[in-house]
Amino acid sequence: MTHEEQLAFFPGDNTNLAGILTVPSTSNGLVVLLPWGAGAYPSSARNRIRTRLARALADRGYHSFRFDYQGVGESDGEYRVATMGNPYTGDVLAASEWLRTQGLDRLMVVANCFGAWSSLSAAPLIRGLEGMILVNCPVRRDHKEVNAAHRPWQWWVRHVRRLRVSKLRSAQSRARYRRLVTTKAGALVRIRQKDVRFTQAISHLITDGIPLLLMYGSDGFRPDFEAELGRELGPILDSAAAPTRSLFVTERVEGFATLASQNLLIETVTSWLDEVVKRTPRPTEQAS
């Protein structure tokens, strides 16, 4: 056994969150925080990918921490649907702060989908951040908006017919419908909504010298990311020093719905983190 696992409740925003700290038998001093996508799933995620990743990282000396967002799994609170305007920033920050209380203050983030967006928004406030891998991170639209933009007219007609006034009572629903319609209209007239949050966040991390890996598969948010690369993001990433880079893979990575994509994730994460560790001066070297 190369690791043991410690179960924990820790304080979140007005609630208690639950998590699992995987402790390697021989530590390299780094802890990897694993914020995952939205959805009311167990902290092991589909096919135990988070569990398997945590244990693979322990084999290489990394601590890791997987946790449940508010209202999910063993955490307290009410589940809330993920939207880009309301990321789970507080939960990511709470997890990173709890790790510091455990003496783990050198932190890497490996985040997927909505967890990547939440981590990106939390990044300026994460203390001791030494690297980030963002997998299939939303760029300017969430899943529903990306899908709605590509739906045919028949789909829209069918859904408008089903629409009831009661569904428009909540401000959150109205805002969601407004975004869907705007996205579709934008796709029709080929106008891209201006949303600089993603590019600005990446730019700040690069300026701060935080190594980044931006990984996209053949599906999900890749088209939005490629479009952004063609604008301001491309030159910013080009100017960044290695090991910061984007990585396009041929596998479908959305939800890691194939065994091949899961294996690829574990290989990519472990090899990139090792690359960062090799390039990072050890604390004693920094001191000298």
């Binding site: 043991e4 696992e5 410690q6 179960l7 924990a8 409740f9 208690n16 639950a18 699992i20 939205a38 959805g39 009311a40 799933y41 167990p42 902290s43 092991s44 995620a45 589909r46 096919n47 135990r48 990918i49 569990t51 999910v72 799994g73 063993e74 307290d76 589940y79 649907v81 993920a82 899943h143 479908r252 939800g255 890691f256 719905a257 194939t258 065994l259 091949a260 994509s261 899961q262």
Partner: protein, 283 residues
């Protein structure tokens, strides 16, 4: 072994995350311990896609049962979720052995009344582990009555997913592929021969046996299916069966970002277990 505990500020219920000792490694568990409870409910989850799809409902059920004064234990099988072990080694027998270990631990805690909930394949496990305890009420959610159909359903989902990805569906059958590669990829869930073979001779009716007991059979959606005939069959055998249809049919292997409204299912299950456990005489 690790334990974490917290007290819910609103209800005063103690919740624990705990590693329980199973026959083949540590089992991850969540439990709730209301003060003064004399009954305990053990929830036997399903596995693979079902495990993930149903997790939130089981979480809600656990919390609701605790709020109604029952002790509750949910756990992950060896090779599933956050427990130790490898999926390759997971079989129906290993799942039953894990559930038995949890029941043994439960029995040692001094609760006078026990109830068991089983969901999907977990219903088979639940039926197997209480076979010799007819006084234990069983609540079964969408039980897999015929495991062969569970595996066939997985094969169909795989075929559909190939179709949506514009891949050929004229690929080898799942049986051929499983025999050839010794693993089957069902939308990112790995299905191994040991698990498939272990379900070969299992069926719910046989596991439930002839010792009559109180049963709740809940199905998702109102479509007529084998659960209606299961309930009728059990009533003929003298079981006291309560049935109910709740919500809409579940697409078990598919991930969803939204949470289905399961309030009626949770409420009905808690009420049924509460009524049955309270009506029992203390031993």
């Amino acid at each position: 072994m690790s334990v974490a505990a917290r007290i819910d500020g609103a209800t005063g219920v103690e919740e624990r995350l705990e590693h329980l000792v199973g026959p083949r490694g540590l089992l991850y568990s969540w439990s709730a311990w209301p003060q003064g409870a004399n009954s305990l409910v053990v929830i036997c989850s399903s596995v693979l896609g079902d495990f993930v799809s149903n997790y939130h409902r089981e979480r809600q059920l656990g919390r609701d049962l605790a709020a109604h004064g029952h002790g509750v234990i949910r756990f992950h099988y060896t090779g599933e979720g956050n427990s130790q072990g490898d999926r390759r080694d997971m079989t129906f027998e290993s799942m039953c052995a894990d559930a038995e270990a949890v029941l043994t631990i439960s029995a040692s805690m001094g609760y006078s009344k026990l109830g068991v909930v089983g969901t999907r394949v977990g219903a088979l496990v639940a039926a197997a582990v209480v076979a010799n305890s007819p006084q234990v009420p069983l609540a079964l959610w969408e039980p897999v009555t015929d495991p062969a159909r569970f595996i066939q359903e997985a094969g169909r989902v795989r075929k559909m997913s190939r179709l949506t990805q514009e891949q050929s569906i004229a690929a080898p059958s799942w049986r051929e592929e499983l025999a050839k590669h010794q693993v089957l990829d069902i939308l990112g869930y790995d299905l191994y021969p040991a698990f498939v073979e272990s379900l070969g001779n299992v069926d719910l009716l046989t596991l439930l046996g002839t010792s009559t007991r109180k049963l709740l059979v809940a199905r998702f959606g109102s479509a007529a299916d084998s659960l209606a005939s299961l309930a009728a069959n059990l009533r003929d055998r003298g079981f006291q069966v309560t049935t109910g249809s709740f919500g809409s049919q579940e697409a078990w292997w598919l991930d969803k970002e939204t949470v289905a409204d399961s309030a009626n299912l949770i409420t009905a299950t808690t009420k049924w277990l509460t009524d049955v456990l309270e009506s029992e005489k203390r031993p």
